[in-house]
């Protein structure tokens, strides 16, 4: 440390200053919540701890356990089948397995009530066949687990499939030579080796579960996120909602520690087969009974996570088409898209800036700030919203009392504040993906460019940018999808005159006009589906 201080004058550069400034700017919501914790609890805090807090903790824990178990089972089983076997229409099934990500979980929640609730589509079909069932009760915590699991399993599926696909056949051959059965191979070799992907995917699932507002609110399940909203809006106690947020942040960090502990020090890296031996990753062709069974396993998540919700939405969409399809809907779609596009562009730009400033800064200790700035993804949207409201309040108070200036109109009800909140929430999505790819590129290419007389920025545009094109594009689309689906943060911070497809669908459902929510929801799914398809096409073209 002494030496670093000794060389402060020599090694301090503009990048150091910029990384600290940018990171601090992006971390305002976190610091705001932390500072607020020292201002005492709110008026309703005692009431909340007496009547609600236990419920929030219990329900959130049950949700995490339930969705964890179900997404693990669905995600790993479908990943294994797709990675290890070939079968007819495999590409279509692979694409369909991802599609639940295109439907926000709160919209899936509405459709299930439409399918199997009182007078639901499925119940009516059963009646036509002479079976009399009034309804299947979905609007409880178990229904919520079902909905969230079938919406979110693709996170586990995606990470695990990539790892399963990378196993060389020698691994299986070695196990067979040692007399290991297929079952034992799966549970004691394949699954443990895939644990980084599984744990990473499940962590994302847990974060989405904790962030969910729309589905939990609709099903009447009290969770931390619904509690934060209720405390702030119905009980009008911002300070207590900040206390609740802080408890949730602590729970999230406990989850992070558990994930770190689960990953441990073991190495899961398999030596990748080189080009000559690539054909050694062999896949078995499915046939007979096994084929029916395995295809059945793949179709279950597609059916419950995508096809059934989509059918219900289409039925509702047709029923309400005349009244709902209008110029306003198109404008709403375009507004959502342009908000998503501009935010995604800004997020990818700032993520790149954070990554490269960290590289160019010689005081690596300061890079810890950039890590704090990327904590947004593990902090539920409601908390970020509350943090920003808190900061806005402090800012307006400061300007009002100290300078006699009213800046309320600039910080409240402003699209800039909403975009800033998205930035903090989603910068980690782009940051992690781009950083992973820069690590794969290594240092030598950019260092070669420096040695050949190029500066840092020119090197970025000449070398890194062309080689990171796919990663940048993927990050851009991922952030775009996340922004377009986002609900709690948008609900808290959106200006009065702005709406999104997600918010409009939620508002109709909240007004008990679930069928009318279908067209905005279908429009949203169409836009997200198009983005995913375009991304796939572009990535294949760039290859």
């Amino acid at each position: 440390m002494f030496l670093k201080i000794k060389h402060f004058k020599r090694d301090f550069n503009k990048w150091t200053l910029l990384i600290v400034a940018l990171s601090l700017f992006l971390s305002i919501p976190i610091f705001s919540i932390l500072i607020s914790l020292f201002s005492g609890n709110g008026e309703m805090w005692e009431h909340i701890t007496s009547y609600f807090l236990f419920d929030y903790i219990k329900n959130s824990a049950i949700l995490i356990f339930g969705t964890g178990l179900l997404t693990f089972t669905i995600g790993t089983s479908s990943a294994w089948i797709v990675a290890k076997y070939t079968f007819k229409y495999k590409k279509v099934i692979e694409w369909l397995l991802f599609m639940p990500l295109a439907i926000p979980s709160y919209i899936v929640a509405y459709t299930y009530v439409g399918l199997i609730g009182n007078g639901g589509t499925f119940i009516e079909i059963l009646r036509d066949f002479g079976l009399s069932i009034n309804r299947i009760e979905m609007m409880n915590i178990y229904g919520l687990i079902w909905v969230l699991s079938f919406s979110l399993y693709p996170y586990v599926y995606a990470g695990t499939r990539t790892i399963f696909q990378s196993y060389p056949s020698q691994l299986k051959h070695t196990a067979s030579l040692l007399g290991v059965s297929n079952k034992k191979y799966f549970f004691s070799v394949a699954l443990p080796l895939a644990s980084p992907g599984i744990i990473g995917g499940m962590f994302l699932v847990f974060m989405e579960v904790l962030n969910d507002y729309g589905a939990a609110k609709y099903y009447g399940v009290n969770t931390f996120t619904t509690g934060i909203f209720r405390t702030w809006t119905a009980l009008e106690d911002l300070q207590s909602s900040i206390y609740l947020s802080a408890i949730l942040v602590v729970l999230v960090f406990i989850l992070i520690l558990i994930v770190k502990w689960l990953r441990g020090r073991r190495s899961y890296n398999l030596k990748q087969p080189n080009a000559i031996h690539k054909n050694e990753i062999k896949r078995t062709k499915l046939s007979g009974l096994k084929r029916i069974l395995y295809l059945g396993i793949l179709l279950v998540p597609i059916l419950f996570g995508f096809i059934l919700p989509l059918i219900q939405l289409v039925i509702w969409g047709i029923q309400t088409f005349d009244s709902m399809f209008n110029y306003d809907l198109i404008i709403l779609g375009l507004e959502s898209l342009s908000l998503g596009l501009s935010t995604a562009l800004l997020v990818v730009f700032l993520a790149c800036l954070l990554i490269y400033l960290s590289k160019w800064n010689y005081f690596k200790q300061f890079n810890v700030f950039s890590k704090i700035a990327t904590l947004g993804y593990v902090i539920p949207g409601a908390i970020i919203g509350v943090g920003i409201i808190r900061t806005s309040k402090s800012l307006t108070d400061l300007f009002s009392f100290q300078f006699n200036l009213e800046i309320g109109h600039l910080v409240y009800n402003s699209i800039l504040v909403l975009i800033y909140a998205y930035l903090f929430r989603f910068i980690a999505v782009a940051y992690n993906s781009i950083e992973g790819n820069t690590l794969k590129l290594g240092k030598n290419l950019s260092e070669s460019s420096y040695l050949l007389g190029y500066g840092k920025i020119k090197t970025f545009f000449k070398i890194d940018f062309p080689l990171l094109k796919n990663a940048l594009l993927s990050s851009f689309v991922l952030v775009l999808i996340d922004v377009m689906k986002e609900l709690p943060l948008t609900l808290i911070l959106k200006p009065y005159n702005l709406s999104t497809l997600a918010v409009r669908a939620y508002e109709y459902a909240e007004d008990e006009r679930v069928a009318e929510a279908a067209l905005p929801a279908l429009f949203l799914i169409f836009l997200i589906g198009t983005m995913i398809t375009l991304l796939n096409y572009k990535l294949k073209e760039n290859k």
């Binding site: 060389h7 260092e447 420096y450 007389g453 070398i463 062309p466």
Partner: protein, 250 residues
């Protein structure tokens, strides 16, 4: 005349352990110098310090008499006029052979690239991409890319480690011929003393971050006191014929 002057150079990372520890040595202009040491002896870090890719904790580096770094000053990498051929060659994968070589050039691009392609015997492959080249060809392109900048000092990081044994011997000779033809002062690092004996004019032995011996190639066998070098000598004696051939050149 000295092309490289290193004085009391040290570098440690987070662990506080000095990877390069109080190194002092000079290299004569026009020579090919080999820095020999085992893995972890600090030779790569020493190289990165010379190139400006790491920042020293203490000590000074001068190239051709110009101060490159000290406790108070550090010259930017792009202003050092040092060429570095990385162990993995680090060719830009999205650029062709020609585009790689001319990457750092501002004027007389075609003329210079043509000349260098001739020197590295790759006149017929200017439009190939790096993934379409063999290991030896990639190394030659990487060398040409560095030479295009007319550096005062050329650094080569383990230039033969990724080549197979048969190719190694051929490439060693080719590399020495190219360097001598251009007449550039060069330093390369290697863990294999045979590499050093075959192409270097002088050798620096490094161990645990310290310079333990520096000598001309013909003095390698004279009065060796260090146990590690003696052990290397036992290995060398097994390859007597190779050593003799190497010594004949000097």
């Amino acid at each position: 005349m000295k092309i490289l002057e290193i004085e009391n150079l040290s570098k440690s990372f987070e662990s506080k352990f000095e990877v390069v520890s109080d190194c002092t040595f000079n290299i004569q202009a026009g020579n090919i110098c080999a820095i020999v040491g085992e893995s972890g002896s600090g030779k790569t870090t020493l190289f990165r310090l010379i190139a400006g890719l790491e920042r020293p904790d203490k000590g000074t580096i001068r190239i051709n008499g110009t101060l490159m770094s000290s406790d108070k000053f550090i010259r930017d990498i792009k202003d050092r006029n040092v060429g570095l051929v990385f162990q993995d060659f680090s060719l830009f994968p999205h650029l062709t052979v020609k585009e790689n070589i001319e990457f750092g050039l501002n004027k007389n691009k075609d003329e210079k690239v043509e000349k260098l392609l001739e020197i590295i015997k790759m006149e017929n492959f200017p439009n190939r991409y790096p993934n379409e080249l063999s290991g030896g060809q990639q190394q030659r392109v990487s060398l040409a890319r560095s030479l295009a900048m007319d550096p005062e000092l050329l650094l080569l990081d383990e230039p033969f480690s990724s080549l197979d044994t048969q190719l190694k011997s051929k490439i060693r000779q080719e590399l020495r011929d190219i360097i001598k033809k251009i007449g550039i002062s060069s330093v390369f690092i290697t863990h294999d003393i045979i590499d050093a004996l075959e192409i270097a004019d002088e050798i620096i032995f490094m161990d645990n971050g310290k310079i333990i011996r520096q000598c001309l190639i013909e003095d390698v066998f004279k009065e060796i006191k260090d146990e590690k070098i003696q052990n290397n000598m036992v290995e060398l004696k097994k390859n007597a014929e190779l050593i003799l051939n190497a010594l004949k050149k000097n």
